[in-house]
C-alpha cells in the first residue's frame, strides 16, 4: 500500500495534465470555440489520490462532473475530452449526446451519469450489490459534491450499502460551495462524513488537497470493502477555485480575497514544491512535464477541431438496446 517514488511522481503528472487540459477548456470557452465548461480545478489532488487507490480497470466508478482528473487516471484521453467539449463524433462518453463532463467510459468500468445530482450514488450501491452476489473481488468508488449529499438519493444509497455491507466508497468532494450556496446552508454537521454515523458506517474526513493522504484513506477503505467489511463515507476537503461553470459569475457571492487566498494553496503548487523539496523532482523535470502536457493538450485541441460532428441521423438512436450499433 506504500506508494513508490514513481507512483508519487505519476500522481503529480496526472494532476498536472488534468489541470492544463481544464485550463485550456476555459480558454476555448473564452474564444467562443466551445459552448460550456464545468471545471475540476482545485479538486485534482483528491481525485488522483482516490483513483490510485483503486484497482483501475477492475474496480468500478460512478463519477460526477468535476472528475476530469479521476477520468484521466482511468485512461480517458485528452483527445476524448476535447471531442466531448466540442460535441464531436466518436466522443466516447455519449457520442455527443450529453453535455461535456458527463462521463462514461465502459472500457474503464466508469458508468454513465446524468445531470440530476446524486443519481449515481444508488447505481454504485446496486453495482456493489451485484458484485457481492457474484462474489467478485471488486469495489465501487462513487463521487459527489458536498451540496448533493443533501439529496435523499444519497442517503438511500449509503443506507443500502450499510445494510448490506456493500463494497462501496462514497467519496464526497467538498469544495465548500454548491454553485453559490456554502456548506453551512447545506448541512448542520461539520463534515458530510459525520452523516455516516447516523447510518451505521464509518465516516472519515481528509485533506483533499493532499493526494497522498487521500490515497491512504481511500486505499484503506478499499481494502476494508474488499475483505467484506462494508462501505465508507470519505469527505475530502478542498476549494472550488473557479466559478461553478462557464455560465456562472462567482463575484456575485464570494470575495476575490477569499478565492486568492485559496489560489495560494493550490494543490498543484503545493505538491510540486513538496516533491522538489523531497528531491523527487527537479525544476527541469517539472518543465519537461509542462512541455509534455502542453503538447498533449495542443494535439487534443487540433485533433478535435478537425474531427467531424455527428451526422444528424445519429440522433435517432440508440433509444433501445436493440438499436446499439457496434462499429
Amino acid at each position: 500500500m506504500e506508494l513508490t517514488k514513481e507512483q508519487r511522481i505519476e500522481m503529480y503528472w496526472m494532476m498536472l495534465l488534468a489541470r492544463r487540459l481544464d485550463e485550456r477548456a476555459w480558454v476555448l470557452h473564452r474564444q467562443g470555440k466551445i459552448a460550456f465548461h464545468i471545471s475540476g480545478i482545485g479538486q485534482e489532488a483528491a481525485q488522483v489520490g482516490a483513483a490510485f487507490a483503486l484497482n483501475r480497470g477492475e474496480d468500478w466508478v460512478t463519477p460526477y462532473y468535476r472528475d476530469l482528473a479521476l477520468m484521466i487516471c482511468l485512461g480517458y484521453t485528452p483527445r476524448e475530452f476535447v471531442l466531448s467539449l466540442m460535441g464531436k463524433q466518436g466522443e466516447p462518453s455519449s457520442g455527443g449526446r450529453q453535455m461535456p463532463s458527463h462521463w462514461s467510459l465502459r472500457r474503464a468500468n466508469a458508468v454513465s451519469h446524468s445531470a440530476p445530482v446524486a443519481t449515481q450514488a444508488c447505481h454504485a450501491a446496486g453495482i456493489a450489490l451485484a458484485m457481492k452476489m457474484q462474489k467478485k473481488d471488486q469495489v465501487v468508488l462513487t463521487t459527489i459534491g458536498e451540496g448533493s449529499t443533501s439529496q435523499g438519493e444519497w442517503y438511500e444509497a449509503v443506507n443500502w450499502a450499510a445494510v448490506h455491507q456493500l463494497p462501496v466508497i462514497f467519496l464526497v468532494e467538498n469544495n465548500q460551495y454548491a454553485i453559490s450556496v456554502p456548506q453551512e446552508k447545506q448541512m448542520a454537521v461539520r463534515s458530510s462524513a459525520d452523516k455516516a454515523c447516523g447510518l451505521g458506517l464509518e465516516g472519515l474526513t481528509v485533506d483533499g488537497t493532499d493526494p497522498y493522504k487521500v490515497y491512504e484513506v481511500v486505499a484503506r477503505a478499499a481494502e476494508k470493502a474488499r475483505s467484506g467489511n462494508g462501505p465508507t463515507v470519505i469527505e475530502a476537503r478542498m476549494y472550488r477555485i473557479t466559478p461553478h461553470s462557464s455560465d456562472d459569475d462567482d463575484r456575485t457571492y464570494r470575495s476575490r480575497e477569499e478565492v486568492e487566498e485559496h489560489k495560494q494553496r493550490d494543490p498543484i503548487l503545493v505538491v510540486r514544491s513538496r516533491l522538489e523539496q523531497e528531491g523527487l523532482l527537479t525544476p527541469e523535470q517539472v518543465e519537461g512535464m509542462e512541455a509534455r502536457a502542453r503538447e498533449m493538450v495542443d494535439d487534443a485541441v487540433q485533433f478535435a477541431t478537425q474531427a467531424p460532428y455527428p451526422n444528424v441521423e445519429e440522433g435517432t438512436y440508440p433509444v433501445y438496446a436493440e438499436e446499439v450499433r457496434h462499429d
Binding site: 440530476p116 443519481t119 435523499g152 438519493e153 440508440p318 433501445y320 438499436e323
Partner: protein, 327 residues
C-alpha cells in the same frame, strides 16, 4: 393447459425465469418472507433464498436506483413497487436514469430490468392505492410499458420483459389478480412485447383497452352482441412502443373507435390512441372517436358510491358502445 389466476401466472413467470437464469433476482418491499403484500412472490423466498428475493428498505427510489446499478453490472433485477401509487419517489431514477442510459451513453450502457407495479382502482383503495399512472411512463422513449389483461399474456409478457435488454415497466391490474382466470399452457412460451392483440373480432365498433378495462370491454362486447352490435376488442397490451398498425387496421374495419381506460381523461393514454386514429384513419371514421375514462379528479375516491362514479365498468362501456353504434 391449467387454469390459473393472473397473479399465479405472474408468480410462475418469475419462478421460471429465476430457475432459468441465476442473474434474475427480485427486490422490493415485503417481497421476501411475506411473499409480497399481494402475495405475488409467495414461495420464491423459500426456493431461492434471501440473496435473490431481497426485502429492500422502505424506499422506492433506491429499489429502482439500486436495481439499475445491478443491471449495469449484468444482473437482471425484477423490482417490485408495492403499489403504483408509490412509484413517484422512483420517478427520477426511471426517467432520468433507466430510460436515458442507453441513448445517453451511445449504447455503451444498457439497463435490462423489470419494474412491476400493481395499478388500478375499484378495490376500495382510495386516492393512494388505486392509481393508474401509465400515461406518465408511456410517453418516455427508452422505456417499454406493458399491461397484461389475462393470465396467458401476463406470464408470456413478463417472461419477455425479464429477457428484454431494456427497462420494462410492467403494470399489473391488481383488481384482476384473483378475479381474472384463464388457461395457461404447460411449458415454455413467451408473448412478444410490442404487438397489440385482437381479442374479439367484430365489424361495427372497435374498443381499445388494456388491463382491467380490457376484461370489462370483453364483457361489454358480449352484452351488446345480444343486441346485434358486433364489437371488435383490441387489447393494447404494450402501451409503449405503440402498435399503430393494429389500431389503424381495426378502425379501417369498423369505422368507429371507443377507447377505455380508468386513468383520468385529460392527457391520458387514450389521447395518443385518438391522435393515432385521427392521423392515420381519418377517412375511415364514421363517427367521432370516443373516450371513456376516469374523470379528471386527482384520484379515485374511497367511499363506495364515489368509487363507482369514478370507475368505468361493463355497463358504462356498453352504453358508450351503443351510442357509438347508433351514430
Amino acid at each position: 393447459m391449467t387454469e390459473m389466476t393472473l397473479i399465479e401466472a405472474i408468480r410462475q413467470a418469475m419462478d421460471e425465469e429465476m430457475a432459468r437464469d441465476p442473474n434474475v433476482f427480485i427486490v422490493g418491499e415485503d417481497v421476501g418472507i411475506r411473499g409480497g403484500v399481494f402475495r405475488a412472490t409467495v414461495g420464491l423466498f423459500d426456493k431461492y433464498g434471501a440473496d435473490r428475493v431481497i426485502d429492500s428498505p422502505l424506499a422506492e427510489l433506491s429499489i429502482v436506483g439500486v436495481g439499475i446499478g445491478a443491471a449495469l453490472y449484468g444482473m437482471k433485477p425484477i423490482c417490485e413497487i408495492q403499489f403504483s401509487d408509490f412509484i413517484y419517489p422512483a420517478y427520477n431514477q426511471i426517467i432520468s436514469e433507466a430510460a436515458k442510459m442507453c441513448y445517453r451513453s451511445n449504447g455503451e450502457w444498457t439497463v435490462p430490468m423489470v419494474i412491476r407495479a400493481p395499478y388500478g382502482g375499484g378495490i376500495g383503495g382510495g386516492l393512494y392505492h388505486s392509481q393508474s399512472p401509465e400515461a406518465m411512463f408511456a410517453q418516455v422513449p427508452g422505456l417499454k410499458v406493458v399491461i397484461p389483461s389475462n393470465p396467458y399474456d401476463a406470464k408470456g409478457l413478463l417472461k419477455s420483459a425479464v429477457r428484454d435488454p431494456n427497462p420494462v415497466i410492467f403494470f399489473e391490474p391488481k383488481k384482476g389478480y384473483r378475479l381474472i382466470k384463464g388457461e395457461v399452457p404447460e411449458g415454455e412460451f413467451t408473448v412478444p412485447i410490442g404487438p397489440a392483440r385482437i381479442s374479439r373480432a367484430g365489424t361495427d365498433v372497435s374498443v381499445f383497452a388494456y388491463g382491467m378495462m380490457h376484461y370489462y370491454a370483453l364483457q361489454a362486447a358480449e352484452k351488446v352482441a345480444a343486441e346485434g352490435i358486433s364489437v371488435e376488442v383490441v387489447d393494447l397490451r404494450t402501451l409503449y412502443p405503440v402498435d399503430r398498425e393494429t389500431i389503424l387496421a381495426s378502425v379501417q374495419r369498423t369505422g368507429k373507435a371507443l377507447i377505455v381506460h380508468e386513468a383520468n381523461l385529460t392527457g391520458g393514454y387514450g389521447a395518443e390512441v385518438a391522435a393515432t386514429i385521427a392521423e392515420g384513419a381519418f377517412t375511415d371514421l364514421d363517427a367521432p372517436v370516443r373516450r371513456l375514462c376516469g374523470p379528471d379528479v386527482p384520484g379515485v375516491p374511497f367511499s363506495h358510491p364515489l368509487q363507482d362514479w369514478f370507475m368505468p365498468n361493463p355497463e358504462k362501456i356498453s352504453s358508450a358502445i351503443r351510442e357509438l353504434a347508433r351514430y
